[in-house]
Amino acid sequence: MDRSIESLWRKRAGDFWRGSIPYFRDMTQSGLPGVVIMLLLAGLAGYAVLLRNMPASFPFTLVGVIALTPVLCWSPLRTWLREADIVFLVPREAEMPAYLRRSFRYNGLACAALVLLVCAVYMPLYLAGPATTPVLVIVIFALLLKLMNLFAAWRERQLVGRAGRRAIRLLRWASTAIAAGALLQTELWKTLLYLVVIGGLFWLLYSRQSRYPLPWLTLIAEEQVTRRRYMAFFSAFADVPTETAAVRSRRYLSWLARFVSYGKRSAFTYLYAHTLIRTELGGIVMRLTGLGMFSGMLSAYSGLLQGWGSAAVCLLFVWLSGIQLGSLAQSHKHSVWRLVYPLPEQTRHDAVLRVDRIAALICAVLIWLPHGILLPRKGDLVPALIALALSLLYVLVLRQARMKRLLKFDPEDD
């Protein structure tokens, strides 16, 4: 049997993806790929309209920075490490560089592909504006920035101090955003000079901080978070094994849960409100709503298909956020306390429905807002109103019926 560290990496990666295949199948059956393709087509059509009627005041650089910075900075690392590795793999630490090289290659290539994709999408916009640097040079520099970020992200993982790690990451994101802006707007030599200076400064900064040769705990925690994200996503389409929830305090939202009144009937509402706000599910829904608002802004700004395309984009995101919110019904389904608390199962169902309805309504309103503001200015009031009416119909009527079915025909229920 091949016991090399590389074969262990291959086996773990293979196991993860093989284990995910059934969930991908469930996701395909849910119709999500079709919706994504429609969304892409609608986005492309809107983009084409925007390119044809480009206003002179369009913020080319700002949009470029917003589009490029996240893909340049975000540098995940799949290591497949788990808690048990503290016992079983730590003794083989000397062999770990070979193991991690595979992870770097795996994520490095994926990240580079993502950068190329975003560049390919953004470049037509760049060329429609006051393009000062050749596209090929921009792409090469973007890849160079990605490489620098991959290295910097690894150094951050190694840092001993958690607070320092966060502050430096924030600094890296800000510096990269400035670099992206410089790349798109100023002469090349200035960008190059900036990169050399900032690269040197970061080098100095990292070398002065104490660090672990191999940050086991950080890597295990990161892997756990990534797995949870996959599971939170899949749980919208299938019943997935429960992993302990990744929790964020989210003080900017958790104050909302304080509005749940004290009382026996509200106990599960109190729990589910916190579950939604603080777990990965809330994170995904928030990101989806943010993406929906951003897409809405672009499509409504370009008045896609006389506003009807824009309305379709709105409905698609309302539907997508609703689909994702559906996985709230899966939360705490296997909790012992569900059976121990002196609360009838119906109160849990009611709580899921109540929290789901309020969250779906807030998301729908936020997603609709850019359309509601921008479309009437273009004289497309009717598509905006229809989008609102259909969103409300979906949230208040169709989703509720679906959630009730989901809870009612749950074979796990007593």
């Binding site: 302990t244 929830a245 990744a246 929790v247 305090s249 004290y262 009382g263 026996k264 509200s266 106990a267 109190y270 729990l271 916190h274 579950t275 706000i277 603080r278 777990t279 705490h332 909790s335 012992v336 306390w337 059976l339 121990v340 608390y341 002196p342 609360l343 009838p344």
Partner: protein, 256 residues
């Protein structure tokens, strides 16, 4: 007086073909603290799961406050609070939010909840951790949160599985003091533990479980007698009796 917990002819386990528990019969009276003791795998946790209603009995009946779970699920559950062997906390709630959730679930009046939760946080030295999430607590602190939640509910029966695991000496003392206090107020405690000296000091009666059957139950004198020990002048300890009952494969047979 009606017992708080009545277990009659309980046979159960994960598979009906291979029962883990065999014809258990015992009672826990009001204001009583009863210790359930047995080796690893004797069936203590399985018995507790049946009492909680997490597992269904193959035969027999369990009543809490005179109700079975099937007849009156809400009254049955309202009457008991559970402290599991491994702390089972909601990752998304802080310590004080757990207390609030329990207060709501057990219908504790809000003013009373505020008062009780403050005093419990204080008594278990958890006030500085009141806003901490479960993942930021040590195992002992997580166990304290479980215990505090059970004590907040003030039910008529506490079902406690290995309460001392991971607790520091101050935590153990606080827990025992609180358990004595609640039994004086009329609540009952049904507790499984391997710390026999503590069980002996605090419990008034004992149930010795071995290979899924009760091999002895009653007061210390009853258990010593079942173990074949002549208990005169305080000679027999629970530990010695337990050793004799289970070390030779339970040769004294099951207790009826």
């Amino acid at each position: 007086m009606k017992p708080v917990l009545e277990v009659k002819g309980l046979t159960g386990g994960y598979s009906p073909r291979r029962p883990v528990l065999h014809d258990l019969n015992f009672e826990v009276g009001a204001g009583e603290m009863v210790g359930l003791i047995g080796l690893n795998g004797a069936g203590k946790s399985t018995a507790i799961k049946h009492i909680l209603g997490l597992m269904q009995a193959h035969a027999g009946e369990i009543r809490i406050g005179g109700h079975t779970l099937a007849e009156q699920p809400e009254a049955y559950r309202q009457a008991l609070a559970y402290v599991p062997e491994s702390p089972l906390l909601f990752d998304e709630l802080t310590v004080e939010e757990h207390l609030r959730l329990t207060g709501m679930a057990y219908d504790v009046e809000e003013a009373l909840f505020e008062k009780r939760s403050e005093s419990l946080l204080d008594e278990f030295y958890m006030t500085p951790k009141r806003r901490a999430f479960a993942s930021h607590l040590s195992k002992g602190m997580r166990q304290k949160v479980m215990i505090m939640n059970a004590l907040l509910a003030r039910p008529s029966l506490y079902v406690i599985d290995e309460p001392f695991l991971g607790l520091d000496p101050l935590g153990i003392r606080s827990l025992l003091d609180k358990l004595v206090e609640v039994t004086k107020e009329g609540s009952s405690v049904f507790m499984s533990s391997h710390i026999l000296s503590t069980v002996e000091s605090y419990c008034s009666r004992f149930i010795v479980l071995h290979q899924g059957a009760i091999v002895a139950q009653g007061t210390l004198a009853d258990v010593c007698q079942a173990a074949g020990m002549a208990r005169g002048g305080g000679a027999g300890s629970l530990e010695e009796a337990f050793y004799r009952l289970v070390a030779d494969g339970g040769s004294h047979g099951s207790f009826h």
